[in-house]
Amino acid sequence: MATNQPPTAAPRDAYIVGGNRIPFSRAGKKYVNASNQEMFTAALEGLVARFGLQGERLGEVAGGAVLKHSRDFNLIRESVLGSSLSAQTPAYDVQQACATGLEAAIAVTNKIRLGQIESAIAGGTDTVSDAPIAVSERLRKALLEANHAKTLGARIRPFTRLKPADLAPASPSTSEPRTGLSMGEHQAITTAKWGIAREAQDEVALNSHHNLARAWDAGFFDDLVTPFRGLTRDDNLRGDTSLEKLSKLKPVFGLKLPEPAVPTMTAGNSTPLTDGASAVLFASREWADAHDLPVLARFVDAETAAVDFVHGHEGLLMAPVHAVPRLLARNGLALEDIDFFEIHEAFASTVLTTFAAWEDEEYCRTELGLDGAFGKVDRSRLNVNGSSLAAGHPFAATGGRIIATAAKLVAARAAETGRPARALISVCAAGGLGATAIVESA
């Protein structure tokens, strides 16, 4: 592809030392009274404790939340101040919808690779249970006008124009601002376009639950998760679910699409709203050595993409489909070179439309600018320790969860085989965005 320049060698590499998160919890359950700051601080403190970072001045901490109150303008810095890291650790907030956590990791690893910093933490947090609630647009305008007024009469006047309905709060919604369609409705359209069957989606969901349950049982998350508010495991996980149970659920998205579209997306093969937080420690080799910390994996390279979804030219969640071929080409890799595919399961069908697109010759030629089909993903390499359908998806926390899992997977595989192992991370996001990255055993 003409747009792909060979990678400019970075001065040095950035490494993943380890990760930590709190168990993810379905909205309205265990974390009802937990704020974003409390959850991120808990994830951070667990990471600090695990790697003995008390009092340490790190290069920086970056992260964010998707559903964020305006008072949390310095959410990550406030979390750092509430942690046992040195108060001299700088921090900043990042926001890129569901790709927030991965984008934060891309930002801090680039600084490490450039030599601007030696160590960093990236992550994210989100709560639907404690989401900020705004006032209606008419009430907001009245409040602002009253605030600017100089006399009592002028302060009261704006409120006389309000109607009772204007006093109702405006809850955050998952609708795309430019289309008015929820993310589920958007994905239902993409699913219909690609003709993805219900059974195939339920199978992705089933594997996610079984794989995540097996990983928990095998102790894979023992050094990746800190209990929080009495929760020790992701409470969305249904290790005993079956295709039969999943097949009984009623579709919830795409119910009003015109024929021949058939509703296929259920609460079982769509990710539930979830609360949680995650954090990942990155470092230069020198810093890790100096602190006597082994590294798990190298954060090799990343590519972000965006698609033109507003008028239906491309599906809302299809940006990673565009990013991955560019990322792999730049690094001289093909799909067969990837040992682990960590594809965020916003919906089971997101994974399947991604694969279907890469296998479609015509699409790859016209939309991706490739010579032919990008290729087929070996399903046995997909989300081998589960993903968002089972764990849940606290928007900004998902990137950190996936990076830590991918790093551990490649480290274990390399130790087992004596050969380098690679993972591909792909996260789709609202706004037609997507972030992808390659992680390789150190």
């Binding site: 289309t179 008015g180 009003k256 579209a261 008028h311 239906g312 939309e367 600018g369």
Partner: protein
């Protein structure tokens, strides 16, 4: 009113300013009852109304533009969207339709379609000359359709032209007895087409609350009772208030947006079943023409086609197009 030169056989009558729509509706409503189909058919008044100096630089017009932009989703800008010019000149066209010698009833006419051309950008502060007349009465399956044409010039150059096509049920064109039952005169006759229509996949969903008609009525001045409340709409045979057709079309135009339609564009809309309020409309607003390949840039401006229907049904509300036009050469 003063007389003026004739154009196309029509006598030009100057109005001192934009008439008030409220008064026109009262007059129109009163006169509607007297306008019934008559033997000999429909003869349109050979009159062009002209308002020579419509100023747009006053604070009231600026505030109204801002309210209009907020409501239909246009970005805040001093460039007047084509739909705003439509509401600005609408009173002149309405004044024509409430004349005693305009043969069709203002209330009860069905708005079939609109074709608007924005030929050069109009900005706040520009002074417009507005003209409006009615032409081309022709048979429709259910009566007579007429075009009400309005134009706006800036500095002697045509900047905007809108053709609104209305149906008056049960009327006949002059000299064509029995034409009310004659076959459709227009190849683009939409009535049959909707029977075979199936919706495409949507690209968006509009949730319109019960106050949508009142809100557009406030910025457009078009407070036709069918849009204002369920009660007033029932008086005219609608089960609920219905959304202004031009509001739905304006939202589609805004959705395409200034960056894609350019400064000069054609904007058309054809109306089918009305949108009842409150209600949800599924829309498909799609770029037409060739695929833009990776690494290529689309040709300047893109044409769009849009459709609106009731979610989960094949009840079609409207369809239309937005097509960039070449700008006239700069002098």
């Amino acid at each position: 009113m003063t007389g003026g030169p004739a154009s196309d056989g029509r006598r030009v009558e100057d109005l001192p300013g934009l008439p008030g729509l409220g008064g026109l509706y009262v007059k129109g409503a009163a006169a509607s009852a007297t306008k019934r189909p008559r033997p000999g058919g429909v003869t349109l008044p050979a009159v062009t109304y002209r308002v020579p100096g419509v100023a747009t630089g006053d604070p009231a017009t600026a505030a109204r533009l801002r309210a209009y932009q907020d409501l239909v989703g246009e970005p805040a800008s001093d460039v007047l969207p084509a739909g705003f010019l439509h509401v600005l000149v609408f009173p002149v066209a309405t004044a024509l339709m409430v004349r005693g010698d305009f043969p069709l009833p203002l209330l009860g006419m069905v708005h079939l379609r609109n074709a608007i051309r924005m030929l050069r950008p109009v900005r706040l502060g520009d002074v417009l000359e507005v003209r409006a007349w009615a032409e081309n009465p022709r048979p429709h399956r259910r009566g007579v359709q007429v075009d009400v044409v309005a134009e706006a010039d800036v500095s002697g150059e045509l900047a905007w032209r809108g053709v609104s096509t209305y149906l008056a049920k049960g009327f006949q064109v002059a000299g064509a007895p029995g034409s009310a039952t004659a076959e459709s005169a227009e190849p683009s006759e939409p009535v049959e087409a909707r029977d075979f229509w199936t919706p495409p996949l949507p690209t968006g969903r509009w949730r319109l609350d019960a106050g949508t008609g009142r809100a557009y009525g406030a910025v457009s001045g078009d407070r036709n009772p069918i849009h204002m409340s369920a009660l007033s709409a029932k008086a005219f045979g609608f089960p609920k208030a219905i959304a202004h057709g031009m509001y739905t079309a304006a939202r589609a135009l805004a959705d395409v947006g200034p960056a894609h339609r350019g400064e000069a564009y054609e904007w058309t809309v054809e109306f089918f079943r009305p949108v009842l309020l409150p209600g949800t409309v599924d829309v498909a607003i799609r770029r037409t023409g060739g695929v833009v390949h990776p690494g290529e840039r689309p040709a300047s401006g893109s044409s769009y086609v849009y459709d609106g229907w009731r979610p989960g049904k094949d009840t079609r509300h409207f369809t239309g197009t937005v097509t960039p036009l070449p700008l006239p050469p700069k002098e």
